[in-house]
Symmetry: C2
Subunit: 432 residues, 2 copies
């Protein structure tokens, strides 16, 4: 009884997925073996977006209370506890997201990943297209494919701001949704009101032209992590047919607990609004989430006004940006989240390899559909940030020396020329 049967257990589609997802996995594995070989303290790992800071006190206290009291742990309605949904709706109204949100506009979910999958499953028919802006969070590809959708990639501008005309050009009769990550992972870009309003206007026009609703899915787990007084405008508040997908993973540092929600813009969907909410709740059930984890629902509802600490991120960002400036990297200073997405100093693959030689772990831009870049995460401790700054300088130093040997150019000048996207994926560094 053997090989024949065993080799065929995994679906072909799953094997394809594993290959797609293997770039980041390979990097993680290399990181682990690098740490084992050289000692973790010598490796600057800026590859992960997993903040291990303490959650807010108010949340921890609410959690402790919920776990100590004889709270029910059984099923509740698939949309979540009514009092929890009401608390979220109240928060959204008080903080100016919506004016008239009610409990029935909120569905509690298993994190933002759960929220996005529930929305996509609810609205996508096979072959429907979802427009995603490049650079994009790599999981979107899987989420859309899970539910038979087709991903249509549209580049943002060079500075990662919205290119509304490019989005307009990509809208077809099959377009069912546009998906935004605001603030954006990996670029840290926060979309401004003017560009979001232009997007909303264009989408409404296109929807009428094609006689078909187009949804906006706004993925907002980083929205409290903002720098330099950047104003956050939720895309879901600017366009009526919107789904706001939120998670406390990053704001409360509880990514492992899987708690978030979808809020449907109250202006959305008119007379079939109740059907839409019913559909989301049913999909939450039938996808196997059933309901968001009960205890966490109670805890986040009680701590919904807990203050989110971002000061430590601002300091880390400053240090990394100073190191990038000094060494002649080209980058857009992030306005939110905890990532920087600079251009590589030459072909991407060789640059990532060179960074690894210096024990600096970063994610290649091609993993986000934007080759010629690399992502730094500053969801790490200060020691790691300081180490990373040294290593960014050292990597740049290598490039300066090599360039100087080949063709003498003014120091730093080469760094400002963006590499072509192809260079990042196909190029090989002849110098190695």
């Amino acid at each position: 009884m053997g090989i024949l049967l065993k080799a065929k257990m995994i679906a072909k589609k799953t094997i394809e997925r594993m290959e797609t997802g293997s770039a980041i996995r390979k990097m993680f594995d290399e990181g682990l073996s690098m740490k084992a070989e050289h000692g973790a303290e010598h490796v600057a790992d800026l590859s992960l977006g997993n903040p291990e800071f303490a959650p807010p006190k108010a949340f921890l206290e609410a959690l402790r209370r919920a776990a100590s009291e004889p709270t029910p742990h059984g099923y509740m309605p698939n949309a979540g506890y009514p009092h929890v949904r009401e608390a979220i709706a109240g928060y959204l109204n008080r903080h100016g997201y919506f004016e008239n949100a009610e409990a029935r506009h909120v569905l509690m979910t298993t994190g933002a990943a759960g929220a996005i999958n529930v929305v996509l499953k609810t609205i996508l028919d096979p072959g429907d297209e979802v427009i995603v802006l490049r650079p994009y969070f790599v999981e979107y590809r899987f989420y859309i494919d899970n539910h038979g959708g087709q991903m249509a990639l549209v580049d943002t501008n060079e500075d990662f701001s919205l290119d509304v005309e490019a989005v307009a050009a990509a809208v077809t009769r099959r377009t069912k949704a546009v998906m935004l990550n605001a603030p954006n992972n990996p670029s840290g870009r926060v979309y401004d009101r003017a560009s979001l309003e232009a997007l909303a206007e264009m989408l409404l026009r296109k929807a009428h032209e094609h006689g078909r609703a187009i949804a906006l899915i706004s993925d907002e787990p980083y929205r409290e992590l903002l720098f330099d007084d950047t104003a956050f405008v939720s895309p879901a508040t600017v366009y009526p047919n919107s789904f706001m997908c939120y998670s406390w993973s990053k704001s409360f540092n509880i990514a492992g607990e899987r708690i978030g929600y979808v809020a449907v813009n109250p202006a959305a969907m008119g007379e079939d609004r109740d059907a839409l909410l019913d559909a989301l709740a049913m999909t939450n059930r039938t996808l196997g989430f059933v309901n968001a984890p009960a205890l966490m629902q109670r805890a986040v509802a009680e701590a919904v006004e807990a203050e989110v600490e971002t000061g430590h991120y601002a300091a880390k960002r400053e240090k990394l940006c100073a190191a990038l400036d000094e060494s002649g990297y080209t980058y857009v200073k992030p306005e939110g989240a905890f990532y920087i997405f600079p251009q590589t100093l030459g072909p991407e693959e060789a640059f990532i390899r060179r960074a690894r030689e210096h024990l600096l772990l970063v994610v290649p831009g091609s993993a986000f559909g934007r080759p010629g870049h690399f992502r730094l995460s500053f969801a790490c401790d200060d020691r790691t940030v300081a180490l990373a700054c040294e290593k960014l300088r050292a990597v740049a130093g290598d490039y300066h020396r090599e360039r100087a040997q080949v063709e003498p150019v003014p120091r730093g000048a080469f760094a400002h020329k963006a590499p072509s996207p192809e260079a990042g994926t196909k190029g090989h560094d002849a110098s190695r």
Copy 2:
């Protein structure tokens, strides 16, 4: 801007699902309005499988500790915390499920529903068939469809035991899995070792014949709820290519917390076993579950040996069975879980309506693919059980009287004739 766009937001497929799922939903809604109208204390609601008993003390203490200590709440590997997976593997070995399970055979999941969806997504290519035994848990239909599979229904015997020949006849070149619920919801049947071994042998033979692996997916959330010294044999331990899907929802009464696991039979899948485990972990991530809720993983691992209380269920079962016996219902005494699945006294639809007139809420057998039956859940308090017993007698009394008027037969005799499946779905009660 209006109706045109708004009416088209929900996918056609979702609307179809809502219609499929509407029978049970309709019953719930009717139950709510029935309670509002007549007072909840006068309604015997045996429709739900949501035990609201207290979780085991050991679990509550472990939960309290985990919530009070400065435990990490961030991401962990998608398969779960290594120490938690190890604790589960140890439990499975100590309790004789497996002999050599290791942490790497266990994937922590968002309940059994999460577990089943992860397994199906990992192994199904579009069009693959999954054999499901009738009567079946209604959600299986959605789970299989979520991942492009086709459900193939096979009837169990009259007493709900395994009909291995019928399963064999349903296996085709497209069969990728057989799915069992053990103990079964709604019948309470526990499959015995001999029938499971016959099933395993047949599946291995068919797999070789077709040159294709066939998986066994065993859904076991009720396995600790057993009566009359019934021995539980996990189907996943009898057949090598098995996925054991478990949840603490019913054993610990924590259905709202969404915590469970998949354990892969260590004998399964030979040289691609590691790939299979990697694939399950990746699917857990890409379906949007990401990982099982962190705090609950810690709590169940610590309380893994907590004793499961089933005494109260046994007493409730006895009372309901006594009432069924007295009133001449035909049924198979459940060996496990907390459901009884008797035959209706005449056409199903009319019987369910008659029960409702008596303020007795039960689920029609057609919701489980086996018309002419009804499901009683005894996951309820003793007062409700006592009330339900009265009502079961009253409903039977109605049928006795009506039959007596039409054709005088010996008391109770008519109940032993099983109605045809068609009668349950199409029949109308002329007497109303």
